[in-house]
Symmetry: C2
Subunit: 184 residues, 2 copies
Amino acid sequence: MRSAANATAPHPRPSVLGGAAHRAPRAGLTTFERETLAVFVGLARVVGLPKSYGEIYGLLYASAGPLNFGDIQARLSLSKGSVSQGIRALRAVGAVRLADIAGGDRKHFEPETELRKLVGGFLRESIRPHLDGSDRRLAAVGGHLGASPAGPAERKVLQARFDKLVRWHKQGRAVLPWIEKFLG
Amino acid sequence: MRSAANATAPHPRPSVLGGAAHRAPRAGLTTFERETLAVFVGLARVVGLPKSYGEIYGLLYASAGPLNFGDIQARLSLSKGSVSQGIRALRAVGAVRLADIAGGDRKHFEPETELRKLVGGFLRESIRPHLDGSDRRLAAVGGHLGASPAGPAERKVLQARFDKLVRWHKQGRAVLPWIEKFLG
DNA sequence: TTATTTGTTCATTTTTTCTTGAACTCGGGT
DNA sequence: ACCCGAGTTCAAGAAAAAATGAACAAATAA
């Protein structure tokens, strides 16, 4: 049971606001919603997140008010598992947050719509960890350079490459905060 | 200098330089090479490219001189198909280029090592196209907004969301050149 | 406490993406 | 022309990632 019907329902009435909807599971989306989802699904792909995450965020974004777990599951006709994991992940990167709804109703979610925060969360959770991993790796490699290949000429070139790689990482780290600021 | 040895060799001798190697297909990589590959494989993952592309770029990066098709295939023990596609793609984004080798030898490749160009190529080939796609989509959606949901209150919220989305895209486009410059 | 409903976890299935390999094309070389 | 090796293309197989669903946990009501 999802949508509207009556407000006196003895049980968790599906928060409305999201739509005049009462549509069936799939295709129960307005054109606006479908297209917005598509945009975010594309974005998700670019940043390497599963499509379902993009759909969830997109639906929240295209809804005028917070939605609860059941709303999301029903409108996107995703499995409970996907919705659960999706919400968790999106909350982890700060793309979705708990909306403080009046009644002690079911938990409702709303999208973070500040670009700066969205990007910030993504950088923090995805890019930085990667940089950290590589850095550790690089630190370990440094030594092996001396032992490896043939002549000193090659050795020199490789040393230069290695140094450059380390420098890249530093630069990478340096741009991140900058990007955030720029989008502020 | 590539497959040194001698320029009169009747057939494509596997260019060396990359290593004191004469090792067998797999594991025929020095520790330095293996670790460098790993770093680039990780990077490939982040930017959504197949692992094999990361390996190819990584191998080139960890080699003191240009390598040819056969070298790459042998040292990474990848199929011809993967190497072919990998090289094509990496060249397309400007991450790898043809090295102008002396003799009319087999084509040799070398990595682009200017961060600015690497990033630039990636932004141009991957991010911008995405933005373009979304923009087209958004342009189409704009209209549908009027027809969709219920009350005027919601309508207003959604209109705001839509506008913000459009603004995001503009901002996104604006940062790109900026990032490049910063890395210059 | 027991019954119900919401939400989570995780093994399994499904889908998507990557890699392979074989057929094919292109360019000499003879 | 014919042969050979280099490289490309693409259908099919392998691998990886995501979605599902069922068992389970937490919370609430009865």
